[in-house]
Every structure is written in C-alpha cells, then in structure tokens.
Symmetry: C2
C-alpha cells in the first residue's frame, strides 16, 4: 500500500508520552504512514509566535492535509491565541466529531449503555474571537451564527448518522432566548432534517437537553449543536463514560482534517508515564479511517478494546474490582501491541 | 405576627396545580401571608402584551416586592419576550440561587452525597437580549459581562456561603477563549475571594468543570458562574439529584425577589394532577426565609422532607423499591399537610 503523508505534533505536557505510545501502536499494526513531525505549542508561543505554530508547521499541514495532534499548553497571560481555535478556523474544520462510548463492565461508568456522538459546529459561536472592552467596566463578546456554517455542520451530522448506521439526530439550541442566532441553527436543522426522512430527528432546549444527556445518555444517538454547548457537553459525556482520557475527536473540513484527544495537556502529571493514551489513540483510529486505512484502523481498535477488556488500565480508569492490572502509558501501549 | 404582602402568579400548564398545592401547604403551616394574585403568561401574551405581564401585575410586584411565580408558557412564534428574563432585568434580580440536594436513599440518584448551590449571574451574558441579523445569512448575539454585574453576584455568592455554613466557592468560566468577558468575571472572582480568607475558592474552565459537576457533584459546595452556564448546569445537577421537579430557585435583587421552580410549565402533563409541586414548594420555603418567617419555613421544609422520606412520591421520582406510594399533586400536598 502507498504510504500516506501526515503531519504529527507531539505537543506539551503529557503530549509527547501519549503520542509516542500512539505512534508505536500504529507502527506495530502496520499503518502505512509517512510522518512529518512539527513543533507546536508552548515553546513556539514563547518564541513570540502568538498562535503557537510557526510557518514551517503550517506549511507541513497545508501539504499533508492531515494533522495528528497531541494536546498543547497555552502560556498564561495576554496576547496568546488558542492554537486549537486558530487551526480550526484557518483550515476550515467546520465539524468536530466526538464519539463517547461506555465500555462497561470493563470501565466503570454510571451509564453502561451510552453510545453517542456529539457533533459540534467548530468555527463560529463565541469562538469567532470577536471580543472587546467598551469601557473599563463593560466587556462584550460576539456570538456569531451563520446560515452556511449551520447548514454545513448539520448536513455533516445527518450524513454521518446515515453512513454510520445511526438512527436519530438531536439538535440542542437555546432559541427561546437567542431567537435569531440559535433560532437560525434550529431552522436549518428542521429544513435539512426533512431531506433525511430515513432518520429520526428532535430538538431540545440546551438546558433540559444537557440534563437528559447527563442523566440518560443512552437515549441519545447523534447530537448536533453550536460550538460552545458542544465544548461543554462533550466533556460531560466523556467523563460520564468513565474518563475524559478515553475520548477522541476528529475536526473535519472539506480540505483538511485534524485528529486529537478531547482532553488537555495535563502538565501536573506530565513526564510520569501515567497518562492514558486512549483518547489520542482512538483519534488516530478515526484518522486511519479518514485516510482510507480502515483495515488497520479496525485492527488497532480491536487490540485496544481487548486491552481494555482484559482489565489492563491506566490510573484514570483503574478501579478495584472491574480492573485487573494498573499500568503506565508505555506498558499500556505494549499491551495493545 | 403581621402578615406579609406578596404577589402570587399561577402561571400556565401545570402552574395552577402546583401553585394551589403549594399555597394549601403554606396556609396549613400557618404562614402569615396576604396574597395578591396576578395573571401572567400565555393569556396575557395573547392579549398582545409582548412580555406576558400587564401593568396591573407589574404594579402589584413593585408594591409587594416579592413574587411567588409558577412556570408560564411563552407562545411559539416571533415577537414574544421571555417574561422570566424581563422580570429578572426589570427588577434587577442579579443573583439566581439554585440549591440541589440529593435525598438518598429516599429519592433514587447516582450521587447520594450531592449538596450544592449554583449561583448564576442573572441579568447579563447572552441573556442581555442584544441580537441582530446582519445579512440574511449572518446573525449575531452579544454576550455582555460588566464589572459591577460580576462583582455583585460573586460577592453575593461568598456572602451566601458564609451565611449558610458553606466552605468553598468555585467559579466556572471559559476565559481561555473569552479573555475579556469571562476573563473579567474570573478576575473579579479572585479579587473578591481575597476578602473571604475563611472560605476556600477555586476556578475551573467550564467544560472540565461541567464534566466534574456531572460526574462528582459531591465535591462541589457553592458554584458561581455567568448566566448561560448556570442555566445549563443547574438543570444538569437538578436532574442528577433525581428530578428537575425537585429544584427551587430564588431570584434575588436589592429591592425585589422572585421565587420559582427551575422547571417549565410542562403543558403535556397539565391538568392531570400528576405534577410534582416540590420545586415550587421549596422555592416558597426560600421565600419564607427571605421575608423573615424562618420558623414556618422550617416547619414546611421538615414536613416536606418527611413526606419524601415516607416514600410518598409523585410520578417523576417514584421508583419500585425506594418509593412506597405513588401519589398525584393533591395527595402529595395532603401528605405534607
Ligand atoms: C482548548 C480549548 C480551546 C478547546 C475548546 O474550547 O474547544 C478544548 O476545550 C476542546 O474542547 O477542544
Ligand atoms: C425560561 C428560560 C428563559 C429560563 C432561562 O433560560 O433562564 C429557564 O430555563 C430557567 O432556567 O429559569
């Protein structure tokens, strides 16, 4: 098989450890990858590049069109822009796909039957980054919702549901308050849903929707929503499934794609060989499917599942009883291999 | 004891049923109330008053300064303003106090030890209602955060914690993205926290904060946050405690106060005598404390607690095993009495 060229960034904090583990597993599984490594994040910010990524790295991503990215640390203090948000906007990655699955009884969870995918709009909303100080005492941030932006991600959600054998698409909005912005998202949802009569659809106000998602996640299938709600609620569902350390995400656009764990760089546990590489590894599985290496993807996914089912667990999901063996990052990767 | 004059609104949907039940209990407990009843909600909207409350009702609330309010229904379609939001802004009700307590083992919950209070800012944020259509395809909503608005609610949260024997105040913001608006809220939080050295304080990014709140609510005590996060997360915690039907809220300003359940008017179950009046009743308990009738408040609260502990439950919290008797709204009120 021809090798696929991809860009890889090792990131900050626990990033290098979980990326090393992930790449070792991909290699052992026979993934056909030609890897360009780029440096992003903290060191680059500190060299004075305000978005954390230098021109060489941008050049690589624009050429390979696929980025596998470990979490990064944005330094404290003013002037730094979020690299995540910059990448999503610069590469037009309009859909952020975040599956959460319970691996019960192997991983302890209060919701053994959950198996859902949150698809969040990924460029607009309060993330558009339009914020200003009106007076010393009054600050404003603009929430932006557009028709093309909403249509694109909603259509993606319905197509995704169809392609993945899902039955229902739920939309979360707060259009009893935001009648224009969230109202537009809702209207687009209803309009596009009508083109997919084979799929169920429903809309919920985000407050009660969030309550149901937290209490009965098993009743949801695909859930599409504006950016900020999706940010908050995908962390909630991941944690409910057992650990934020388990959850992958795919940032998808028409020309580019970026794959990453949903968790952060966790500097407090960096360098200790205890982080769970699963979120990034499962993101890499999504990447393999995206670049057409579905067979390798399945192999990696099954090996990972087997490791989890064997009770070989990192600290975040280790529980007396359901787990068998407490391992570090490296040993977890060895077990998967 | 001198009677206290209050305004009462029966609302829409299940509103009249749960308000009747609540008032019967208050009367039986010997609450000293002089009640002015006003009509608000659906019928008023349909008479063409765009905020759902006519001048007579406004006049009553401005005189009595205390409103006990059942949920209302805002008609579908354009032009109607949320009465909740209108009341909060017109009466300067800057703090929305939402306690959630687990009543385990009497009410089934995955989090038997949760006992927390969310205090949400109640006038600003995306609720300021500044929204517009820029082109046919581009809509914007303004998120507003001010220094006085933030200071007021944060100070309220620390004072509330102190007055109620709470130990810790947690702040949720998303200031890695919204550096100005949420950054201001965070800065005010740190500044004010320094004036309360007897209380612990901590700040979390709202996504991971929400995940922890949903997964380990028992680790939280008082949590203060901007309006929209509080809207979403107070529904989440209420539902996790057993039912949104259990959760009260107090909307507090310097001159006025409004007490209500956090749930909506649930038109689908209206008129069937099955709704849980607990949210509104517990809001009435908060009201009694507010108007200086703490002894009656305690009496009502204990009688309610006893009913719940006796396993006399409405449908939303009735579970084979933990519950003993399934009752309707009226019979629940009888049992409390
Ligand atoms: C790091 C941060 C900018 C990002 C976000 O808010 O989207 C993260 O929380 C995520 O969910 O990917
Ligand atoms: C009815 C609605 C405007 C209100 C809100 O969003 O604040 C409700 O959800 C609440 O939480 O009190």
């Amino acid at each position: 098989m021809a090798k696929t060229l991809i860009t890889v960034a090792f990131g900050d904090g626990i990033g290098p450890e979980i990326m090393t583990a992930t790449l070792r597993i991909l290699e052992a599984a026979g993934a056909e990858l030609d890897i360009e490594t780029v440096e992003i994040g903290e060191k680059v910010y500190k060299r004075g590049i305000d978005n954390g990524m230098d021109p060489k790295a941008w050049d690589s991503v624009r050429r390979t069109r696929v980025l596998l990215k470990a979490p990064i640390t944005t330094p404290q203090g003013g002037g730094y822009k979020s690299l995540n948000v910059t990448l999503r906007k610069a590469l037009n990655l309009y859909a952020n796909v975040r599956p959460t699955v319970a691996y019960s009884p192997f991983v302890e969870t209060t919701h053994p039957k959950m198996d859902l995918v949150i698809i969040r709009e990924n460029e607009e909303d309060l993330y558009a980054g339009i914020e200003h100080r009106q007076t010393q005492q009054v600050y404003q941030c603009l929430k932006l919702i557009t028709q093309p932006g909403s249509e694109r991600v909603i259509r993606y959600a319905f197509d995704y549901a169809r392609a993945n054998g899902r039955k229902k698409v739920t939309c979360f909005v707060k259009d009893n308050i935001m009648k224009f912005t969230d109202g537009l998202f809702h209207k687009e949802f209803e309009r596009i849903a009508a083109e997919y009569p084979d799929l169920e659809h429903e809309t919920m106000i985000v407050d009660i929707g969030a309550a149901r998602l937290a209490n009965t996640p098993e009743r949801f299938d695909v859930v599409v929503m504006p950016n900020l709600y999706g940010d908050i609620l995908s962390d909630v569902t991941a944690e409910l499934s057992g650990s934020v350390g388990l959850a992958p995400s795919a940032n998808i656009g028409d020309g580019f794609a970026m794959f990453e764990a949903i968790h952060g760089s966790a500097p407090d546990i960096a360098g200790q060989n205890i982080a769970n590489p699963s979120g990034l590894l499962l993101a890499a599985v999504m990447m393999l499917i995206h670049i057409g290496q579905a067979a390798v993807a399945e192999k990696v996914h099954l090996a990972w599942l087997r490791t989890i089912e064997d009770g070989i667990h990192t600290r975040d999901i280790y529980r007396e009883g359901s787990s068998k063996k407490l391992v570090g990052t490296d040993a977890f990767a060895d077990a998967v291999i």
